[in-house]
Amino acid sequence: MKKFVNDPQQFVPEMLEGLALANPDTLKYVPEYNLIMRADGPDENRVSIVQGSGSGHEPAHVMIVGKGMLDAACPGDVFAAPPFDYVYETTKMLASPKGVLLLVNNYTGDKMVFEMAQEMSSAEGINVKTLFINDDVSVEDSTYTIGRRGVAGNFFVIKAVAAAAERGADLDEVIRIGEKVNSVTRSMGVALTACTPPAKGSPLFELGEDEIEMGVGIHGEPGRRRAKMMPANEIVEELLTPIVKDLPFGDGDRVALMVNGLGGTPISELYLLYGQAHKRLAEQGITVGRSYVGEYCTSLDMAGASFTLVKLDDEIEQLLNDPAEIPIRVF
């Protein structure tokens, strides 16, 4: 497998360096802790919003640090939770009198590290809370998870809590909003190919030329079933149905719909999927109020996609509508 790599061990630091050099006015890079933070933060009048995770999911989450989104992201190595001291030092550097919110997708390793960082920094007087995101309806327990996994749906939690923080909400209010958005967000994805971690150099799991993994996790974890390749509309049906049934979403609901590319699927295919999903929802009386098509939370170079639905109310929709300024932009 051909990759743009120098030393696989330096893959993440070199990516972060490039990101910082491309955004000198808005981002600050602290190499000691893999930390990307807003150049103008922390702000003493704003709750700091921090997301941690493994790398390999870009643009999540280092490339969504900026005004109206994250105050900081501290990734670990590819598909690995950040070490404890990265999170602990990040929390201290982002400490604002209004508090710090650590957002974490629900994986056992990340959960332990972030909970401990919260406990340690609380003991030192920092006002810090942790919120776990678990939007993936595919499976309950999984390779790295007890309970449901957190996947692309965390973008909606991030956007809403960051908008609330930007408006001046206190830490309890920010958490209330984050929990509310997580509770109405559901996702599921499919892999057409496996992904290749730079340090491994070969595919992470076996997937036959004519096979797809329904309900795949963003680290290549198994989903619901291994299926034969099928027409796109049938894939949309198989992913959307469990999402809609889970909350459930129903006639009269207004939603945000995200079609997220997993890293190796062209945007043309993502729009093809979006069109079918939009129409399928309309047939069920579900209106798309906001749409998102592109790469948000990827799995390195995996070909595949995930769908996310968020049930909107006035409060959530207004927060999603607030402006944001982050490195991923067209112009």
Partner: protein, 212 residues
């Protein structure tokens, strides 16, 4: 809090650290039977950092010292060992603040706080085939000995003996937490690597106590 108290706590932590470093291969081999074999490596790297930072730790009191140990051991360690041991030291640090002197009762309270921290952080309990299956009954026995008026040497010996018996008995359990849980029933027949590791550490602390 006296200088002797801090010296005793330093002796315990230093012995834990030196055992983890000395026994890296043995602990790794134990874990490789049903886990992923990284226990020896993770503990050795974590405690190496403790030893490397040793001279720079603040020693205002036992709580401060243990908190610094917690940060050091959790740093730069992958897997779950770092946060679990870090939480244990952090909770022991907090528990030590309730005592003027580190006597037997304080030691029991700190061990209990450490075990409770591991339970909470790891979402695990007795019977899940983890180091808790040695640590908790050994702590119970230590408390029983102290309350029944046994002398300190007898109490320590009983503490180590119970840890060993209970670690051996984990062979009968099926792993329900950690990577070993992926092998489910196959884990029956081998003791839990973490329970054996903590027992080896306890045995060394008890046997070297007189020479500290």
């Amino acid at each position: 809090m006296t200088a002797t108290d801090l010296a005793d706590v330093e002796f315990v932590v230093r012995t834990l650290a030196e055992t983890a470093v000395d026994k890296e291969k043995e602990f790794g081999d134990l874990d490789a039977v049903v886990g992923d074999g990284d226990l020896g490596y993770s503990l050795a790297r974590g405690f190496e950092k403790v030893l490397a930072d040793w001279d720079g730790f603040k020693r205002d009191d036992v709580a401060t010292f243990l908190q610094q140990v917690a940060v050091a051991i959790s740093s730069r360690i992958g897997g779950t060992s770092g946060p679990l041991w870090g939480t244990a030291f952090l909770r022991a640090s907090a528990a030590s603040k309730n005592f003027d002197t580190v006597d037997g009762a304080a030691a029991v309270a700190m061990l209990r706080a450490a075990a409770d921290g591991i339970k909470a952080r790891g979402n695990s309990d007795l019977g899940d085939k983890t180091l808790l299956d040695a640590l908790i009954p050994a702590t119970d026995e230590l408390e029983r000995q102290i309350q029944s008026g046994a002398d300190a040497g007898e109490a320590r010996a009983a503490f180590a003996k119970t840890a060993r018996e209970c670690a051996d008995a984990t062979s009968k359990l099926e792993a329900r937490r950690g990577r070993a849980s992926y092998s489910g029933e196959r884990s029956i027949g081998s003791p839990d690597a973490g329970a054996v590791a903590i027992t080896i550490m306890i045995e060394r602390i008890v046997s070297e106590w007189g020479n500290r």
